[in-house]
Symmetry: C2
Subunit: 330 residues, 2 copies
Amino acid sequence: MSTAVVSYALNGRRGVAEVTRERVLRVADELGWRPATAARSLRAGPGAAALVAVHDGAAGSRAASTLDLVTAAAEVLDEAGVTLAVHTASSVEQAAHLMRQWWAERRYAGFVVTGLRSDDARLAALRHLPAPAVMVGDPALPAPPAWRSVVLDDATAFAQVGEFLADLGHRRVAMLTGAEGLLSTRRRATALGGALNKSGIDFEAVSGDGVDRAAAAVGSLLSSGSHPTAVVTDDDVTAGVVLDVARRLNVNVPWQLSVVAGTDAAACRLTTPSLTAVPYPVERLGNAVGHALLGVLRADGTKREKAPPSTTVAAGGLVVRGSTAPPDPR
Amino acid sequence: MSTAVVSYALNGRRGVAEVTRERVLRVADELGWRPATAARSLRAGPGAAALVAVHDGAAGSRAASTLDLVTAAAEVLDEAGVTLAVHTASSVEQAAHLMRQWWAERRYAGFVVTGLRSDDARLAALRHLPAPAVMVGDPALPAPPAWRSVVLDDATAFAQVGEFLADLGHRRVAMLTGAEGLLSTRRRATALGGALNKSGIDFEAVSGDGVDRAAAAVGSLLSSGSHPTAVVTDDDVTAGVVLDVARRLNVNVPWQLSVVAGTDAAACRLTTPSLTAVPYPVERLGNAVGHALLGVLRADGTKREKAPPSTTVAAGGLVVRGSTAPPDPR
DNA sequence: TTGAAAGCGGTACCAC
DNA sequence: GTGGTACCGCTTTCAA
């Protein structure tokens, strides 16, 4: 039997007698044989994509959820025979460098980019390649056709937080934003501030990048004479810090201070009081990333499909728990 | 100029005129050319390794540190031109399956395995391949020569915790262990229990697998008439839960209850009181993994080197913070 | 329906 | 020191 027959049989192409096919499949299985990725790639191009996680602390607590995202994406990708690898880089620049290099080496067929920042070196790098890419979390920017975005609609959710706090009667609200350059945290602050200003409520955004700085910021916020009656954070860890600082300063949560975590996580249910939080639908986000990636990889290989360049994943309604209440009239 | 000359020049082999070499390198650089991974792999075999993280919750808070580990390992590996990819699997069995498949596809040259469990399917799978592998965190088991281990000596650290608590005067100590099958948590409990028993101190290990169960366990532990005066956890998140439950039950930490986190993390410094913790030297662990991986990959390619099959990384001395004190004589 | 053969992009051996 | 060439393992075209 010739190699061509085997190849046909294994790849499910027609033109092989059913008996022959079965025999081939059986033997391959018995031998535990699988086609070598390298040989296959040499001919057809790489069949895998990569996500280079920037691991410099600015990503904050979202580092953990990267693996959740990938797991969810892999669920979708596995069925299509695509694998998604995760790598880490210690800076945005290094991430850009790695992607450039790996693209030149034809190691990966495309990339997934998370945690976009303003002036992101990765964007510039990818644009020049040009490699298929999926941008996760942030609104679609003017992008080459080989890109697709998966947008997390947390702006709506944060606006809702603003309305919620307004309805409770809060008049002064502060947000502890995440890392400086992170696009998502700025977008969240804008949405929250917009909703609050519309109700004529005082809003202030304070940099809470990193737990230590967050702790310091909350400290000075609460020590001032008339401090805000509600604090919204960018992530769950920072919200925990707020609770702790408040407790230390004898500020009662939720009566003297309401706290909202910008990203829900298991830990939010376990604090005292438990944390009201904006859902973070990693799983749906991951699935969407999987589909977007398949689209962008296929579109590149065959004809340009007219797929929507962007999918929006709703964050969902605020999960109200014990850390929010009407402000104490004092 | 022929392809052979180019290949020689780029790979730094001798037998090429210096002028020629420089010209080749310069042109390659200008063109942004890099050898295709697939073509290279086809001849020389894969040049990358993979870590398949089991992502089923049992890994607990250590999920986040996987990326730290990989980052530290990559630092070492980059210089040798080896890349380490991370993938996730939803169970030990799936991880084993993926490694088997990827080995058959000659996609990766070796694997890194973390979070070993008793009766681990990954061990059996890898043993049958046989693929070069680095086992992280647990003591060396009877292993094929293509394996190497990076051992975290947390047993010593946990024994030290026992002595520390004994010296403080505690007479009843409990440990909240992590996921059932996890080898490391069992080893830690054994070391702690051994040290305590030697001092004639009452020791009890309770399953605290998952935050909810941990909370419940601490609750019932503290509600009983004469509860332990010290609790040791397997990780930092669980320690946070202990603090919270204690606070809710009006058990004063550290005077009525001392708490020790089994794995130090940034969060341990920020609780009130801050958490006494066993250091978790991810970075050193990662570097060791990098070196071990290089060793095991090279040993496979060329001659069998007589490198030590196992590297031990000390956890280091207990970091004493505010959550531990002599027990209240009541 | 099957077999033979040409690449894919490098590396390494061989003469020159 | 340099150029020609076989080969890595698979896919695919073309003839039989």
